[in-house]
């Protein structure tokens, strides 16, 4: 049974001088607990689609269902959204940053500290609760952003190129941490990325989009033996480069 259902999504942006069609006839289903990636050339509307799924703005046409419930700007399902950069609030401590979602949703105050501590433990930063973001490295900050996203126990995680601003080493480490953590919490997740390797290493299925207007071009299933492995180990696996070549060629053919 599908957990996330995207039905006939069309979307156009209007400016003073023109209307630009960015998404055309997008249909896709994602199972509960599945990790999928959206890749495609720039301008294929990946981020727009993610924002529509998040309920940040309505699509021109079409519907999104999460767990059977229709998403709209008035009825945001519980989604967790991670951006390119951590966007931690510099004037709040790490603990306050992690619990900001809970505060917004006005959940009881007592549990905040417990949740924050447990999550910081989970992401391997148990002692930074009272520090401020500027005292942490880029990789640590993005880990805190992951904790902030998980704190509200979202139904689905939307990851909008969360590793693109990091150095390569931090990126590889964080990939492993994200996959491991999401598996442990059995979260459904969509990753938007430019990096084919990252998509293969982390996901169970890869959705390839073509641009102008954005349409769903092809879906690749990642073999189950790779899904078992951590992203780092997938990159070392002999099958990895074959899949990379297949997706690469398909991406090239889009021009």
């Amino acid at each position: 049974m599908e957990f996330l259902k995207v039905e006939n999504i069309h979307h156009s942006y209007f400016s003073k001088t023109q209307a630009k069609e960015v998404l055309r006839d997008i249909n896709l289903d994602i199972r509960k607990g599945e990790f999928v990636s959206f890749i495609g050339p720039s301008g294929c509307g990946k981020t727009t689609l993610l924002s529509i799924i998040a309920g940040l703005f309505p699509s021109t046409e079409g519907k999104v269902y999460i767990d059977g419930e229709e998403i709209s700007t008035h009825n945001q399902s519980l989604i967790g959204y991670m951006l390119q950069q951590d966007y931690l609030f510099p004037w709040k401590t790490i603990e306050e940053n992690v619990t900001i979602g809970l505060k917004i949703m006005e959940r009881s105050n007592k549990t905040h500290k417990v949740t924050a501590n447990a999550l910081l433990q989970e992401i391997g930063l148990p002692h930074v609760g009272n520090n401020y973001p500027r005292e942490l490295s880029g990789g640590m900050r993005q880990r805190v952003a992951l904790a902030r996203t998980l704190a509200v126990d979202p139904k689905i995680l939307l990851l909008d190129e969360p590793f693109s601003a990091l150095d390569y080493q931090s990126k590889l480490k964080l990939e492993d941490l994200v996959v491991e953590t999401l598996k442990a919490y059995q979260k459904t997740a969509i990753l938007v990325t430019h990096d084919i390797g990252e998509a293969i290493a982390m996901s169970e299925r890869v959705f390839l989009f073509s641009a102008n207007p954005g349409t769903l071009h092809k879906v690749f299933d990642i073999p189950s033996e790779l899904q078992e492995l951590s992203p780092f180990d997938v990159r070392q696996h002999p099958m990895y480069s074959d899949i990379f070549q297949i997706i690469w060629k398909e991406l090239e053919s889009l021009g």
């Binding site: 966007y87 609030f89 510099p90 917004i104």
Partner: protein, 260 residues
């Protein structure tokens, strides 16, 4: 090496202080000498000793405390009111983008207009008293505060708001958690500008109507040709304006300690 560097810094700081002191001494000493030897008109430019004598006299008969108190009060109230109202209007403009579009040209006009020119109208409308002087002190800083703070609100990285939106935050929550704290450094820096502006507004207001205050003393001294009094008032204003500025700077340091 590091010790040497520290000592060098200390030495440099001492020199800066020394030269600052020299400038101060040369200024007052030169003033005194020029006036003693009659190279400048003693009647107009007075001299430090005469100013000092006037100060002692005014302090001992108790009138000075009253004048300083009145002006300080008016300035502080005008300053706080101007900053608060200006920020409040900025909040309203941020809240309603429609309203901000409508009001945009009027803000430009009001900002360009010299506010002290409104003085006579204020006095007629609010009566000749403390109230119109305070209003002048506030009015002079409201519009510029509105414009600067509103620009700061709009300049906050929208991705910070997006983070909260994904948690389903209301507009008010976004304002309280993101927009306002992110704009604190700008609000504080307008405070520094407003300190100076409020002094201008209040002193001009006192020129026009007051029977108490330092602005009144300046005008009175001018009318009776007692420039000892005028210069004394000027020095007192310089002194208190500096103190207010320093206080604002202390507040700034305390508030934006962790905003970097």
């Amino acid at each position: 090496m590091f010790k040497q560097y520290q000592q060098m810094l200390k030495k440099e700081k001492r020199y800066v202080r020394l030269y600052q002191l020299i400038i101060l001494l040369v200024f007052f000493g030169g003033w005194e000498l020029l006036s003693r030897f009659g190279w400048i008109d003693r009647l107009i430019f007075s001299s430090p000793t005469h100013v000092w004598r006037t100060l002692v006299e005014k302090v001992s008969d108790g009138t000075l405390t009253l004048h300083v108190g009145v002006t300080l009060m008016e300035t502080i109230i005008g300053f706080v009111a101007g900053t608060l109202l200006g920020t409040l209007i900025a909040v309203v403009l941020w809240w309603s983008s429609m309203l901000s579009k409508i009001l945009d040209p009027y803000l430009v006009i009001l900002n360009a207009m010299p506010k002290v020119a409104l003085g006579p109208i204020l006095i007629v409308a609010l009566g000749p008293g403390y109230f119109s002087i305070v209003a002048m002190g506030a009015l002079i800083s409201i519009i510029i505060t509105t414009i600067v703070v509103y620009t700061a609100f709009k300049g906050v990285d929208p991705n910070y708001s997006k983070v909260l939106q994904t948690f389903g935050a209301t507009r008010w929550q976004i304002f309280r958690e993101v927009i306002l704290p992110a704009s604190f450094p700008t609000i504080i820096s307008t405070l520094k500008v407003n300190v100076g502006l409020s002094w201008v507004g209040v002193i001009v207001g006192e020129f026009l109507v007051a029977s108490k205050g330092l602005g009144y003393l300046i005008i009175y001294g001018f009318q009776v040709f007692n420039f000892n009094l005028v210069l004394m008032s000027l020095l007192i204003i310089a002194f208190f304006a500096t103190i207010m500025y320093q206080v604002v700077e202390l507040i700034e340091k305390a508030i934006i300690k962790n905003n970097g």
